[in-house]
Symmetry: C2
Subunit: 558 residues, 2 copies
């Protein structure tokens, strides 16, 4: 706990992503002299962000304060914690600190964006503490659905602040050791000012099962389906899951192929860095699959979320160039649908089943996130003065708050904060202290930030009702109409049904134009508004539809 | 079972909806002389059916055979079993047979569509058998998440065929009696040719809990939140759920208000017909809520699926005119998200929680559909020769098939059929026998069937990339360009970013036009194709985007 007599400088915690856009994890720790950044994730678009590819954090606050920034520390190698790093580095060059596997995955991203070699990067081991300006950051071992996950003890002028990152408590992890509960207890004994902890599973009672329990599930599946080809879809980043599949391939004498760009990449990085151990003569190239019979093969693939462009969906839709699903194939979804993906996952399951595959999708996954009893364990060890639930939707943060309060944290010492909110610690006391610019920036194709709410609103209307463009051509001098109004529609109504509607819209347009004499036709906006209004009313009355109506006036000079 | 010596005429079973569009439940039973129809449901659009409001079955097969149709029997009053009735009746006048509550809900639909009084309708009681041409249909009591659900024993020339409709086995239902297992056993003893049974929960092991267990859940919630206003969202059609809320309101001395159009309608119909018993002075109008304190109120509302236009979502978004969510309110989701709705449900939960409401959404619902052990019970009683799993996605039907096979139905006697497939019974033996026209018809606004795949594909492209219209005006005689090409875009890119892009597209258009001399400009399609291609390439190369590009050539005569 902060020693009040020293009157140290203030310390601020500012999430730049977070609640407003789940997954975009990036948190600023700041004092008068230094800034450090914890994680730098991207998020995937919600349904209403039509056409948006990814969502990255607004870092204008960092750009304004770039001279104070000492470094970026990364908890683990998932997209929602590392995905925005290349975008941020293109704006501000910041040294990166992470554990080995995490850095391997970051490197692979930097390489893709042509940034490798242009950025200072340092691999840190568990237990190591680094100095970043006026902050010190200690890397503490945790467990998660990817190896090498770390929590941070951040030593600040106000006291120790712990950030867990994403974590679970796994007493029997597949790779490495259980979370360093001893060190968390030791720090708790010293006094911890604040604890920022993962809330993803805070609505779930009990304990998350160990990753190693899935090994037994796979063993049963391999044992019961000895004659079939086995295809397993899982998260590309879940290296431990992949290891367990490799173990089964070895045990049952099958060859293993890997498919899906992100899966191939992760397996490469993990093998190179020693996080995957693959027996000789087990891994084969997907091209070699044809040389083996079904019972000799297991294929690991991406697409466990039903993503339409991933390998599994392409197999299901017969669009995959190398893998054809046959009756008798066993397809395992070793995953749970992320909220919002349930329908697309079902669709892929149905398509696979229609091709005769036996699809296994229940009890084949464990979460990487701590449930309520694990949160209580950490509170018992760390005993922070303040709790700041992080990582999760608002309902998860609220559930986390209830857990914290049940563990004796005073209600007023639990801070649920949104992107840009500033929690300021002064003389060991926290308060909310205004907010800074933060939030989401949409990436569409190569464009960063050039698609915003106006564009999305138009896309929404276009998606629901299509559009109708009404083109009027006037003589630029006399303002006479020099062609019949031309009406173009798309996404509105079948062409064969459209004839009468279009004719009527043409008539309405003519009537509108005739209300203006040639002289007043200079007021193009008045004409356009009248056309838009009258056609809009006609379509709503007759069809109960609202396409985007766009009147255009062109002045032609001959 | 059919007696072979009689050589009776063939009997066909043809689903007109089903697999292709889950929810659109409508099944044709046909012999040489008669047709009867079981259920007539609508379905809600999938994500890719942009702008479509509802989906109804293609009934061209019925129109072609309308003289054979003897009537329509309805299992229960849910939208996916009655929703398309008005649309079908507008095309073919068919007598309707249903139990009392089911008919009440159908009537309310017919009234809305101005059809009441124009159609023959007959209320049938459990145990009653009706003659429909060469078929007889016996109504058998079942349980479901709405009262008055029926299974049908259909007496055909080939033998008895049982259709369960949606059902569960509830030994302690809130309203009425448990499913008539005795009669099912008796029929089984006589010999049942085929069983069409609900597959919705066929992937779930065990038994579905009784509806009455939810009463205890509500009792706890009311008991623990005596000082708070309680708002409960559930399916409008779940009359038994509503009854249990009414019971709690009475027990805890609260007034009850009802909100949401469909909820108000269902409560009205159910009260009128005696399916809801409401103690005096319990029900109040929503307008009177203001006269009561929080602890005196309970409000039942629609919107448990997160539907943006339903009452609950409007409360959450502060758009509701009569109900303002305050800190301390308790909001209960007595429902499970239907696949595809998970994200919108979460969003509403989050918004409510942000307003300070305590939101309860776990363990507050039981399903209305039978799980695996219940299916086994019915197979044990009915012992059909053939099994036809119905109601569910393909993966559910496959799981149902496994259950059937585990109960001794030969694998080849289980038929998984799609919309339009014909299962033909001849001399007591089944076979697949071709298919008839069937499938989905989209309703968008007032238009039925005027939105199809071309329109939806355009809406998809518009939704992802917006559009760009390029307007070129030529002199109709000389084919000279008489105005600068005009470029209009929507949903594509921020206006402020668009300037340079639009300028470049104008240049590209000019270059394309100049490749054609005035004479060859008569070939408008060649010019348009060239413009579309070149601008498409430019946008993809520079922005990695593909808006819908629509070149337009207008010929003006001055």
């Amino acid at each position: 706990m902060a020693k009040k007599e020293k009157v140290p400088g203030k310390v601020k915690i500012i999430p730049l992503g977070g609640l407003e856009q789940i997954g975009m994890n990036i948190t600023v720790f700041e004092d008068d002299d230094s800034i450090i950044i914890v994680d730098c994730g991207l998020s995937f678009p919600d349904d209403e962000m039509l056409g948006v590819d990814i969502v990255i954090p607004n870092i204008n606050y960092l750009k304004k304060n770039k001279d104070k920034i000492k470094g970026m520390v990364i908890t683990h190698g998932h997209e929602d914690h590392i995905g925005a790093i290349p975008y941020v580095l293109k704006e501000i060059n910041i040294p990166i600190y992470a554990t080995k596997l995490t850095m391997g995955l970051i490197d692979s991203k930097l390489e893709e964006h042509g940034l490798l070699g242009k950025v200072k990067r340092k691999v840190i081991s568990y237990g190591q503490t680094i100095n970043l300006g006026t902050f010190k950051v200690e890397f503490i071992r945790t467990n998660h659905s990817i190896a090498d996950a770390a929590a941070f003890a951040i030593y600040t002028r106000q006291g120790i602040i712990i950030h867990t990152g994403d974590f679970k408590v796994d007493y029997t992890p597949v790779y490495g050791e259980p979370i360093d509960l001893q060190r968390l207890g030791e720090l708790g004994k010293k006094g911890v000012l604040a604890l920022l902890m993962d809330s993803t599973n805070a609505i779930k009672p009990g304990f998350t099962m160990s990753e190693s329990t899935i090994g037994k599930v796979f063993d049963n599946i391999f044992n019961e389906n000895r004659k079939s080809r086995i295809i397993i879809a899982t998260f590309a980043s879940n290296v431990d899951r992949v290891q367990q599949i490799i173990n089964m391939a070895a045990k049952y004498g099958r060859k293993l192929a890997v498919d899906g760009r992100s899966m191939v990449k992760t397996v490469e990085v993990a093998m190179k860095l020693g996080y995957l151990s693959v027996p000789d003569n087990t891994l084969i190239d997907i091209e070699e699959m044809k040389n083996y019979s079904d019972e000799q093969m297991v294929l690991i693939t991406t697409g466990s979320q039903g993503e339409s462009s991933a390998a599994l969906a392409r197999m299901a839709a017969s669009l995959h160039r190398k893998v054809v699903i046959n009756p008798g194939d066993v397809v395992v979804f070793s995953s749970t649908p992320i909220p919002g993906n349930e329908k697309s996952v079902s669709n892929v399951i149905n398509e696979l089943a229609m091709k005769g595959a036996k699809v296994i999708f229940q009890d084949t996954h464990v979460s990487g996130h701590a449930c309520q009893e694990e949160l209580k364990l950490i509170y018992t060890l760390v005993k922070p003065k303040y709790a700041i639930p992080v990582h999760g939707e608002f309902r998860h943060l609220i559930a986390h708050k209830e857990v914290a309060v049940s563990m004796g944290i005073p209600k007023d010492n639990v801070y649920i904060i949104n992107s840009g909110d500033v929690v300021e610690f002064d003389e060991g006391e926290a308060k909310l202290s205004g907010s800074v610019e933060a939030g989401a920036v949409y990436v569409d194709g190569l464009g960063v930030g050039d698609v915003g709410n106006v564009v999305l609103r138009d896309r929404q209307q276009l998606s629901e009702g299509g559009m109708m463009v009404i083109i009027m051509v006037f003589d630029e001098v006399t303002k006479e109409l020099v062609a019949m109004p031309e009406i173009i529609s798309r996404g509105f109504i079948y062409t064969k049904e459209a004839g009468m509607i279009i004719d009527e819209c043409t008539n309405i347009t003519m009537e509108c134009i005739e209300k203006f004499d040639n002289d007043s036709r200079r007021e193009k906006n008045r004409i356009k508004n009248l056309v838009k209004e009258n056609i809009g009313q006609y379509l709503w009355k007759n069809l109960k539809r609202s396409p985007l109506i766009i009147p255009v006036i062109i002045e032609a000079g001959v």
